[in-house]
Symmetry: C2
Subunit: 213 residues, 2 copies
DNA sequence: CAATTAGTTTACCATACAGACAACTATACA
DNA sequence: TGTATAGTTGTCTGTATGGTAAACTAATTG
């Protein structure tokens, strides 16, 4: 073997940040290289194009993200708590992002997917696949909640699609409005979709929820 | 006065279509001009930049769209019917778009807003303003529904924000998935958020709805 | 320590792009 | 019918961009 390098990782980190804080279309290969501290020749040594880099970067990033979601959606937790935690996570995470970048950036997959869906097919397929996997967490929480008698949701898939649309929708609104506060009560929308009545007093993260009569 | 021209309108039409079918970042002034059948010199005669053109185009387009929404949200209709019509409209409209362009394109304002929010401030303000006006339709329908006793929603603004996030979220999913079918039952999510129980049999556009006990 | 593999660097090319400008032309209307 | 006004056209410039290729360097291993 020859020498080793982390240039590939640096390129992936850079493209993720540039796309997220800006957009796919306006981030150039030169910018990516400069941010990563990598010469363009090396870029083309590792990746054949911007879209290939982006696809690889989102793939890699998803592997990390998945671990976090595995924790949030742990099967040891009551199913509705999992969804509640997922909403709280969005608020906390976007607040940190706001601190770091001065802007609320929302969901990288949706932003990119929405931007490139008519143009970059390989990348788009990758995004769709990641989003579908994300939805599965919601689906199984809904199914478990139904099985536990917490909610009445015989069609977990349909419900999970509604929740997904809402959840990602709120994140998108947060990005567009550049405001984290729209995320604070995101769980209310999720629980409304599920027909769960929330105790109006308990708004702390571990809010108690009651089954709808 | 000298001679008149519709080049300005053609430029606005072109930029709208190019952004919607593609993205803001990848549409160039040359492309816009070519599509509009206008030379670049004329472009700069009418607009000082791409972002100024886009802002003007979205502004103009909103004026047309508003008339349509005024009809859908007519105060003469029962408030929940208005929301139902709004959902049906999304499905019908996106189906037509699908026919014409071969792709589901979703909501132009959200797609653009999501893409440029960290980069183009003037344009972003315009988008935020249009989206806020769109939300007002939902808010007043919710308020009327509450007043009529159809639903229990004392905070119409909060509910309208939830519905907005969900509605635009579904449109975004439709764009990303390139699938109109996710829009077919969009009204179910809206009504779930409002705590309305929908007759499971009546799924036709004029579905009857009942107040939640 | 040679040979091989892995990664880096620099220079380069063609094209696409934003933006400017001066010369030109059509139209309204006084 | 002349002239101010409105709109058009072609050309030009500098730079940013994607993409290539060849020379170079560092680690690894037999």
């Amino acid at each position: 073997m020859g020498r080793t390098s982390d240039a590939k990782e640096r390129l992936m980190d850079s493209v993720l940040e540039l796309i997220w804080t800006g957009s796919y279309g306006t981030t150039t290969i030169d910018q990516i290289c400069e941010k990563a501290g990598v010469k363009k020749g090396s870029f083309y040594y590792f990746f054949e194009s911007k879209s290939h880099l982006a696809a690889a970067a989102f793939d890699e990033s998803w592997k990390v993200n998945r671990v976090k979601l595995d924790g949030i959606f742990s099967a040891t937790l009551p199913p509705l708590d999992r969804l509640r935690r997922y909403c709280d996570y969005a608020y906390q995470f976007q607040s940190e992002i706001r601190q770091r970048y001065g802007k609320v950036l929302g969901c990288p997959q949706v932003s990119l997917g929405c931007e490139v869906c008519t143009q970059e097919d390989v990348l788009q397929q990758k995004i769709k696949q990641i989003l579908e996997q994300k939805r599965k967490y919601i689906e199984s929480a809904v199914r478990d909640a139904h099985a536990a008698g917490d909610i009445d949701a015989p069609d977990a898939e349909a419900k999970s699609k509604m929740i997904m649309a809402y959840y990602e929708g709120v994140l998108t609104q947060a990005r567009i409005q550049n405001d984290v506060e729209v995320l604070r009560d995101a769980y209310l929308g999720v629980f409304a979709i599920l027909g769960v009545r929330v105790c109006s007093i308990a708004t702390a993260p571990a809010a108690k929820v009651q089954q709808l009569a």
